[in-house]
Amino acid sequence: MDKQIRMKAENVDFYYGKTHALKKINMDIYANQVTAIIGPSGCGKSTFIRLLNRMNELIPHSIFSGRVFLDCNNIFSPVVDPVEIRRRIGMVFQKPNPFPKSIFENIAYGLQVNGIKDKSFIEHKVVESLKKAALWAEVEKRLHASALALSGGQQQRLCIARALAVEPEVILFDEPCASLDPISTAKIEELILELKKSYTIVIVTHNMQQAARVSDYTAFFLLGELIEFDKTQNIFTAPKDKRTEAYITGRFG
């Protein structure tokens, strides 16, 4: 594993009230690779991915300890601005959540929030982001139509375009295809493979086959513990831990 490390979780513990949701997680996330996080419901995978851009801070009665690095900087350091962290580490959610605005405004919004006023720059960024998200050809003639008129798969690609517009370094995907049909899912997967050339990607998925198809590294979580982390190829052909084997072959429980 001589790949460059982009993010690093070090001794991460997380509690929801008294529930110990993550237990001493140590994990590296490699640059320009897709890292998948798999595991049964309640294993901590969504909790973990939300920590990676400090989304956990929005959860009441939660306790976090440990360190999470982006390059060499601890993102939980008190001097770090969480808004800036969430710009550098974007997130795409399970259900497409476009704003009830036009396609154009959905993408321009993030730029405006970040203080950008130059109209031609914003226009340029909107087009570029839509192209990168493989949505441009489908929407170029109706940029000012409502984003809510798009199909679920298109809305999800719009959310990806919105994340790309603010030039993140890492993109977190939390079950991005859970509400999509197989063709839209295949498009998102191809897009993820394209995006990893320019971004570092972490994806949480219930769908093990999806993890196998899109990721380079896979982490298997169970009851808040990181059971196994390895190249996806190794996880799906010769996992080292019996629990990983049982889970991926469907013999679990």
Partner: protein
């Protein structure tokens, strides 16, 4: 829709072709060694076999990864599973070239029992069959694959001709010819086995392209012809 998976499949196809090229050369070199009774030529075949073995392992590993990671179906599934079988056949062909090279080492240092006639014809046939079967694989050409299968009987006939000549004209008349006759007899058999493997590959190609099983039913192909 373009798929990244297609690039992986193209890489696999390329590996099969490169392995096939090495096997073709191994057979050419082994028979070249026989024609000139050349020890270095025979030894080269034995050394080169390692590279072919490595290709087989690499192809098998790629196929296993693709099965596990891409969950292929239909044509993709047939292509990957047949690629595994084809690499096994190619590796066996290379082993047979090594067997021929070992026979050459046994024969070297003494004059050939008789001028070679049917063995070069059998060699020519086996090379043509390999070339065509690899071509059929690249082009997914079922007609060409069928023509390879149909040529297998010619290989059998040439092997039989070599055998009966050596047994009837030499071994049964003069037992002192046995040390020089048996290696030739075995070489004819090795070459014919190489043609059998080319035939297996051709059958796999037909299954890959058309999802039709022609294995163990070659008489049907002959009737169609």
């Amino acid at each position: 829709m373009e798929r990244y998976f297609d690039e992986e499949l193209a890489g696999l196809k390329n590996d099969i072709l490169r392995m096939g090229g090495l096997v073709e050369n191994a057979i050419i070199d082994s028979v070249d060694g026989l024609k000139r009774l050349s020890i270095p030529a025979a030894e080269k075949v034995i050394v080169m076999d390692k590279a072919i073995d490595e290709f087989e392992l690499k192809i098998d590993e790629t196929c296993l990864d693709l099965l596990a990671l891409r969950q292929p179906v239909a044509l993709d599934l047939r292509f990957i599973t047949m690629a595994m079988k084809i690499s096994t056949d190619l590796e066996r062909m290379a082993d047979l070239a090594v067997d021929i090279a070992q026979r050459v080492l046994e024969l070297a240092g003494q004059p050939l029992l008789k001028p070679l006639e049917d063995i070069p014809a059998l060699t020519e046939l086996s090379q043509q069959m390999i070339r065509d079967v690899l071509d059929a694989f690249v082009k997914e050409d079922v007609a060409l694959a069928k023509s390879v299968i149909l040529r297998d009987t010619e290989a059998d006939a040439l092997r039989d001709a070599v055998q009966s000549e050596l047994i009837n004209e030499y071994i049964s008349k003069n037992t002192s010819t046995i040390p020089r006759a048996v290696p030739l007899l075995l070489i004819a058999r090795h070459l014919e086995r190489i043609c059998d493997h080319a035939t297996n590959i051709a059958e796999d190609i037909i299954y890959m392209v058309e999802a039709k099983v022609v294995k163990h039913h070659s008489e049907k192909l002959r009737d169609e012809h």
